[in-house]
Symmetry: C2
Subunit: 117 residues, 2 copies
């Protein structure tokens, strides 16, 4: 699924952008409006794209020099995908790493993301 | 979530049992009746527990000496879990390895499993 690779790349770019408006554009391209986001660091799930953008804005304000990148090619089948990722500090040290599991609808929009750290 | 570890251990034991009836007992304990199973090796998802048991029966008949085991402690949060696994031949060689992602309902039954090889 080359589309899945592009979707994931755009999602990663949305995390890495320092520009909130560019983030909204990328996230609108790849996330369904009512997409769900479950993170082991968050007590409650994020229930839509707008809140997801705001969550990344807050992260980006707190850690402006951290970049997200893939450490494995995405696997995907039957509308599900997974990939390993890492967050790097500006000196190249690993800040945190984990994996994402996700679901994509028939319009190629992410409807669910579950992060494991 | 200690319950999640036990559920996953019972599910793995269901894979490893050579006894179809014991498998049904274990699968009934840990899988919702309408649980979904997505496997990159299968063209279509499995839509319920009974078909899931029959799928493992066929696997077990074809590969009677293969055993499934975890290679990572399960991670879980917000009703979602993941773990890495391997299938070993009787001589200890790795047959195949991958990861499972899953969902659990509020009755502690698995409602969805997605396998990546």
């Amino acid at each position: 699924m080359p589309e899945v690779r592009q979707i994931i790349q755009d999602y990663v770019s949305a995390w890495n952008s320092s520009d909130s408006e560019e983030r909204v554009v990328l996230m609108t391209k790849v996330l369904a409006n009512n997409s769900l986001y479950f993170d082991s660091h968050l007590p409650e799930p994020i229930l839509n794209r707008e809140s997801h953008c705001q969550f990344i804005d807050r992260f980006r304000n707190k850690f402006p020099n951290i970049t997200l990148s893939l450490t494995s090619a995405p696997d995907s089948h039957h509308g599900h995908f997974r990939f390993n990722w890492q967050m790097l500090q500006s000196n190249g040290d690993v800040f945190v790493k984990g994996c994402f599991f996700g679901e994509i609808d028939d319009k190629y929009k992410i409807t669910k993301l579950v992060g494991f750290v």
